[in-house]
């Protein structure tokens, strides 16, 4: 009956209670969410422990302990880090070259009808050849050195960024460009203030698609023709039947892919923070 004697106290107290209840509910929801998201991987790890404990040959699949042991060994002798570094540099350099060319060409054909008329058809023709089919040609022309990998990854990352940049520029709201004209924007101001930010969301889709193709191309190139890198490490391990190293390479690929996509999503979220679709509640 306290609310009758002191009405001013009760509502605030109730408010506090519901607030803390809400926090607990929110935490519970989060816990449930992450449990659901991780449930299948956890089952797999349990299955892994179970199966490699005498159910299947460890020559076909390493035990978790073997894998950890191998990882530590390869970190200690430096092989892992050296190969990781080489692979990452190859991938990023390829993305930088291919992505830049795609971006610049996309901007050019997106803005100038003449450039589109001249360039778009040949680019679309080349696009229809799977870039990995170029591997024999690239190997003959550039050998198995770094340049062949750079060329191949550039080819792979070029198209998604080109296409999405082109599309992004073409789908910019014409009324904003008209507004820019009224305010006397120069060509550069128009590009900086309207065209580039307007195309950003589309360009970022291209970047994320390119990242996937970047790792794929890297793996193929390093598996077929390389003397270093994670792909080489796995191929070499196959010849020696070192399943633990092969599985470790796969895990590293998965991690590299996830990390790069995570970074791309973070950049996307930052660049598009003005967009309600990218704002967190």
């Amino acid at each position: 009956m306290s609310y009758l004697t002191n009405p001013s106290m009760t509502p605030s107290k109730n408010l506090k209670n519901t607030k803390s209840n809400k926090t607990i509910k929110l935490l519970k929801n989060k816990l449930a969410d992450s449990l659901m998201a991780w449930s299948i991987p956890i089952v797999f790890v349990i299955l892994w422990f179970y199966l490699t404990d005498g159910k299947i040959s460890t020559r076909l699949f390493p035990t978790p302990f073997e894998l950890v042991h191998t990882t530590i060994r390869l970190i200690q002798d430096g092989t892992l880090l050296v190969n990781l570094q080489i692979s990452s540099i190859r991938a990023l350099l390829g993305l930088l070259v291919g992505g830049s060319i795609g971006f610049i060409l996309g901007i050019t054909t997106g803005q100038f009808k003449l450039a589109e008329k001249i360039l778009n058809t040949p680019i679309q023709m080349i696009r229809n050849v799977p870039h990995l089919a170029m591997l024999p040609v690239v190997l003959i022309w550039f050998g198995i050195g770094e340049s062949s990998k750079l060329v191949l990854i550039s080819l792979g990352t070029f198209f998604p960024i080109y296409l999405n940049t082109f599309h992004g520029i073409r789908s910019i709201d014409k009324s904003l460009i008209e507004m820019g004209k009224i305010y006397g924007f120069s060509a550069f101001e128009m590009f900086k203030n309207i065209i580039l930010p307007g195309a950003t969301s589309s360009i970022m889709i291209g970047v994320r698609q390119s990242l996937g193709r970047m790792w794929l191309t890297l793996i193929v190139a390093e598996t077929i023709a390389a003397k270093s890198g994670i792909g080489y490490m796995a191929t070499n391990a196959r010849e020696l039947m070192m399943m633990d190293v092969i599985v470790l390479s796969l895990i590293i690929y998965a991690l590299l892919g996830s990390i790069s996509d995570f970074i791309a999503v973070a950049i996307e979220k930052y660049l598009l923070r003005w967009n309600p679709n990218y704002q967190e509640e």
Partner: protein, 248 residues
């Protein structure tokens, strides 16, 4: 700072052989507030776009401040029906685009003039329709223009916001003294704001009516309703067969 004089001489405009404007002659005095009214498709918006040089006339010429215009003039600002803010720039950055030399003080003054200086860091997506239009107004005012062209800027707003915006536009016009050409299909809005109401029908000026009411005007005042009726009757008798299309 008085506004610029606008002279329209024998303006014609056709889109793909279809005439939209047929011989428009109109002079807007420096600092005058003129409302262009007419039904949708009568060519009033096209005329405004021609004054701004966003569109070229098929014939005739536009003279602003005694100079024939051929390109977009930095002293002429245009307020569209949609606010057309850049969604990736915050309120302050959007308004700054309109200020000469991207001057921060002028930007802030313009934001204060429309009462949005507290929203300067907000993204446009977080604003209401009326607030967005006020930001657009601030952006146009930040350049202290000599001519303001308004193309149904309040058309998409709700009734209450509209009334506030009309008052705001009237105040800013009285304070800054720019020449204003305001396109609307709302006769009452035209009578409330304008010194002169120009009716355009089928590409021709069919009425050029001075509104001699003192300001601030009250829409329930009998003289106000007199002018409103006068213009409406003119529209309805001229076009009895399709009068239903008018939005009053």
């Amino acid at each position: 700072m008085p506004g610029y004089k606008i002279e329209l001489k024998n303006i014609t405009k056709s889109f793909a052989q279809t005439p939209v404007l047929k011989d428009i002659n109109l002079t807007v005095e420096p600092g005058e507030f003129v409302a262009l009214v007419g039904k949708s498709g009568c060519g009033k918006s096209t005329l405004l776009r021609i004054i701004s040089a966003l569109e070229k006339p098929s014939g005739g010429e536009v003279v602003i401040n005694n100079k024939k215009i051929s390109a977009i003039n930095p002293e002429v600002r245009f307020l569209f029906q949609e606010a057309r803010l850049l969604p990736w720039k915050n309120v302050f950055q959007n308004v700054m685009l309109g200020a000469k030399d991207r001057d921060k003080q002028k930007t802030l003054n313009a934001l204060k003039a429309v009462g949005l200086d507290k929203k300067e860091l907000a993204w446009p997506s977080a604003l209401s329709g009326g607030q967005k239009q006020r930001v657009a107004l601030a952006r146009a005012l930040a350049g202290t223009p000599k001519v303001m062209l308004l193309d149904e800027p309040l058309g998409a707003l709700d009734a209450l916001t509209r009334i506030n915006m009309q008052k705001l536009i009237e105040n800013l016009w009285a304070r800054q003294g720019f020449t204003a050409v305001f396109v609307t299909h709302d006769v009452s809005e035209a009578v409330y704001l304008a010194d002169r109401v120009v009716l355009i029908e089928d590409g021709l000026i069919t009425l050029n009516q001075k509104i001699t009411l003192s300001r601030p005007r009250v829409s329930t005042d009998s003289n106000f309703t007199y002018f409103e009726k006068l213009i409406l009757e003119h529209i309805i008798t001229d076009n009895a067969e399709n009068s239903i299309e008018y939005i009053i």
